[in-house]
């Protein structure tokens, strides 16, 4: 009989990097980023905290590993449909992964800041490589593929951040909470914002993302067709 729920472990059995990272992600999901400490993770795993250093060089490397694990949930389908549909699909896929692990999104988004590309964990680079592959396979010049990737991923990350900012934990109290929040704002300084309370309440992130992607892809196509000179 196992002692605890989910990834709960006691001293028995060998740890894996996967097990450690999975437990770390679970900790973040349930108790937030700041709950992920070496000591607490050790406790969850039923091990001496120091033993974690066998699977991650230090806390930062552990955090990077959690981000990597998250991205493993992202499946890329190399279908034969056109590239635009593939990117759209990836966008929705990544959005869902982020909504599943909102507490871990900062790791994904600001974790690798100013870490040189080549030094990042392979898992983090895989989506980039795959998208480049899709675009180059669709006939784009590599430089154009990179251009499209940047616009696409930038928009995608931005959207996810936007959506998470508007998401509030308790869906029951959403309306009350948000309203309450907005009431606090001085009407004099924030007239527009206060007036938009109802619209802020029924935000459809999936649709908003989809529309944005449509606009962006259409615009990128045009831009590339037009500017053959530069």
């Amino acid at each position: 009989m196992e002692p605890a729920g989910a990834t709960g472990q006691d001293g028995a059995g060998r740890l894996t990097r996967q097990t450690v990272l999975a437990a770390a992600l679970e900790l973040v999901d349930e108790h937030g980023l700041e709950a992920l400490s070496m000591r607490r993770l050790g406790q969850v795993l039923g091990r001496d905290p120091m033993s974690i250093y066998r699977y991650a060089a230090n806390r930062n490397e552990l955090l990077a590993g959690v981000a990597e694990l998250m991205l493993d949930e992202l499946e890329v389908f190399p279908d034969d449909t056109n590239w635009q549909e593939q990117l759209r699909r990836i966008a929705h896929e990544l959005r869902r992964v982020c909504l599943r692990h909102p507490n871990a999104v900062p790791l994904l988004v600001t974790g690798p800041l100013s870490t040189p590309l080549g030094l990042r964990p392979a898992g983090t680079l895989r989506p980039l490589e795959q998208i480049l592959g899709i675009l180059i396979g669709a006939g784009f010049a590599p430089a154009d593929a990179l251009h499209i990737y940047r616009a696409f991923y930038g928009f995608l990350y931005g959207h996810v951040l936007n959506e998470l900012q508007e998401l509030i934990a308790d869906p029951e109290e959403n309306e009350a909470l948000l309203r309450l929040g907005l009431q606090r704002l001085p009407l004099r300084d924030f007239p527009h914002l206060r007036r938009l309370a109802p619209e802020l309440l029924d935000y459809d992130g999936e649709q908003e993302l989809d529309e944005g992607i449509t606009i962006l892809l259409a615009g990128l196509g045009e831009q590339l067709n037009a500017g053959r000179s530069s």
Copy 2:
């Protein structure tokens, strides 16, 4: 004669919230986010660390204050040029603020995650209110203004994150470092990425942002003109 450089302080003179936040931002700029501790900030200010609690309820509130201070650097010009040019200008403005304080960008971008809108510091909400004002002033229905704001700000944040990810500290060693990084990647798994090394090196963030904004604004205009039915 003042004792130390920049915001340096010793025990003399009364502190202000502004002084405290400015010192905090400077600490982050120079030594990174993790260097911003109550104790170290107290030391920089030449005061007992506990005295900071007079100006910020706790560390999180301090971090939010730093983000707010950063946004104060963003000027919005209520010109009579058209709304698209105003948004474009804001975009470039925010980009520059972020490049000036790269270490503080996570505060801006993931700081207020899941804090209800109304409970955020006023400084954080001001850009939102101003942009809504610009758009509504330009004749958009409030709901459409919100729609445009979301797409615009999402793209903007995403771009800044993208750009910061590609930015490396030491501009002298950029090429060597990046190349070195990329060499580490298995050619088998990352053929496209490795091939794009030269293109990755001369990334022009300002132009990339400008093109993206153009595409987005054009697309948003079209979408709003077309879909009068929904």
